[in-house]
Amino acid sequence: MPAVLGTLGAVIAFAAALLGLVVQLVELRLRALRRTVPVWLEGRWLIALVGAGVLLAVGSMQYALITHDFALAYVADNNATVTPLLYSITGMWSALEGSILLWGLILTIVTAAVIVLYRRRHTDPVVGWATAVLFGCLTFFLWLIAGPASPFERTGGTLPSQGAGPNALLQDNPLVAIHPPLIYTGLVCFSVPFAFVVATLVVGRFDDEWRLESRRWAVFAWTVLTVGVVLGAWWSYQVLGWGGFWGWDPVENAALLPWLVGTAYVHSIVVEERRGLLRVWNATLGMAVFALTILATYFTRSGVLESVHAFSSSTLGPLILAFLTVVVVGGLALLAWRGDRLRSPVRIDEPMSREGAFVVNNVLFVGFAAVVLLGTVFPLAFQAIRHETVTVGPPYFDAVAVPVGICVLFLMAVAPVLSWRHADLWVSWRRLAPSAWAATALVVVLVATGVRGVGTLVAYFLAVVAAGAAVRTLAGNLRSTRGRAAPLWHGLVGRSSGGMIVHLGVVLACVGIVTSVSFATRAEVTLAPGQTKAVGGHTVTYLGLREVSDPVRKATQVVVRVDGRGVFYPAVTQFAGRSGQVVGTPAIDSGVLGDVYLTFDAIGQGSSVSGAQLVPGLRPGSVVLGVTVQPLLAWLWTGGLVVGIGGLLALIPARRRARGSRAAVPTAVLEAV
């Protein structure tokens, strides 16, 4: 029953989206010919039908998951009778086949939001074209859901009495409820700036109003995506067992690429807004971010980047690639057609200015994205040419990321104190001097206490200066609200203040990353019962073993006391379900000053313990624990949270700033279709 209803819902949604696209185009044509369009012939109403279809499809899948209906192959592969409610619900997106439903749902909601938000201006061709573009995207994804990528396939053969259960790594941590929806929301929301860029290019208009709207969506999308990526890293850290949080694997890189170009975009649209510059570049970036989100879908769903050991699936690859081609070629064609008329007649005055810093920011982020893309697809190209398998892993990406990171910190330190159009070096120095001296003092103290590593020290120096620059700007904003007798919170919202809070979050995260990577210590400690050993400034005591058994899991836990205070339970766990996967579940003692990460690696032979590696030669009863100490790692997660807060604050409109600083730029207005 859910299979039939689900497929029906998907088909209805697809048909409605296609119809919506067609009707919207007809409506645009009629309006261009200055004919009146009857209310019932407007394309936007069809979003309601799309929504109904999508809700039916999603509802059917959720119903099947919650009732553990193994007639659906997806449910049989990702759910078990003992799976708790939360993980049944999140099961819809914990595997690839089902997650496309989540994408479709979010895209539908976003399209509906666009239609509702701009309903008063729905006769404007820009809104009309943007709606059409969004309907077009919906048509594609809903077609995938209704057909080639349908998650509603029936189980072959006899119905199993027990499902395989969710992947063991995905059913122990509630973050699975938040991370994929956040990532998908961030990625999908980038469709809106794309739709508006395309619309303004087609219509031949590029005025203030739509720029501001696009910027809001882009900042929202970027903020959500950042929080999603950071949560994903936190989740892998908590679950995967190797103590790291970012592996530079193709799927991670696929989500990083739109984020990097998105960062460039949210900065360069500020330049366009203030000075009317970089229009063509912005139009390109706006379309590029969206194209990269489709590329991310392509990489994750086509299997083209997996190692030779993976069983490459699908027909899905060429289909998504075709859509990507339409998006990229279409966007480039629009630029080829209209781009030259879009260029602003004004140039950047000089590199030593706020605009110059933003340009450097853009080249840096886009360049880094290009290098990450190169590294990710390099094995594929290499295999095609040389017929050999190579891996491009962390050593490469880390080597490139470090100089980029230093440059980013430098820009954050310097840009906020540079003036627009022309920055006076002396004035800029005066603004930075206090933070620069504080930073130098910090470096001297660190070196005196024995900290070594030029890269690390330079990073700390720049981090302090960057924090100082951000705080200085924030203080200035707060002071000016006091001067205007406005409530204090006015100083904390808006682009400038929100942006500075985001920078503070980034600084925190960078400090966390630099410290934990530079000063992490790993050790394997062998402990007899009751024994204590010291690792990296902390002590671990082995107190004993504990077996835990409930319907969902069976685990053997090691009881460990860290630093004589907290007790933690790194374990080896087997989750219920047909496949009975056994995984190591780490335990983490997280603190402001650092994390102690514990894994249960091995146990002496002679103990009847399921799952852990038996190491002959180890005294029975002794355990081997993996201990990783990572200082200041929690600052990374905190920094991500601050970025999220700052981004949301930036979206709240501040008092409108004086327009005097904007260069007067004549805008040609063309009506076309």
Binding site: G243, S307, P351, V359, F378, V392, A433, V444, V447, G453
Partner: protein, 136 residues
């Protein structure tokens, strides 16, 4: 002293202090760590754990990873060059055992690209600067 020169005192002093601190901080005056352990650490970071997808032998504690770590340590203490060690491992497991392709042939493209892009950055800035100098 001219006001211009006086202005330079502040930043100048800061740069000197910072420079000295960084010089000491680079570890150039410390007794060097034994060459063997740095070599071992460097090798362990580049060699992929044979039974894992993405982890280096330094990061993974799978049995095969421990075995390879022991092998690397023995070879380094026996005085075998790093390149030799990598060659032996590549001959046994194939080129994908290294987390970074050896910098030869086609793989040089990987390292050339970031340098090219960095040059682009410099070029863009230079172009803007030159254009500004030319126009009144």
């Amino acid at each position: 002293m001219s006001p211009g020169a006086r202005r330079l005192l502040g930043p100048g002093l800061l740069l000197v202090v910072l420079g000295v601190a960084l010089l000491i901080g680079s570890g150039v005056f410390d007794t060097p760590a034994p060459a063997a352990s740095t070599r071992i650490a460097a090798l362990e970071r580049i060699v992929r754990c044979p039974s894992c997808q993405d982890l280096s032998v330094a990061q993974s504690n799978a049995a095969s990873s421990i075995a390879v770590r022991r092998e690397i340590a023995d070879a380094v203490h026996a005085g075998i060059s790093s390149q030799e060690i990598l060659n032996t491992l590549t001959a046994r497991y194939g080129t994908s055992i290294l987390l970074v392709p050896p910098a030869s042939g086609l793989s040089t493209a990987l390292w050339v690209a970031p340098i090219v892009l960095a040059s682009v950055l410099v070029l863009v800035l230079a172009t803007v600067a030159i254009r500004r100098r030319r126009s009144p």
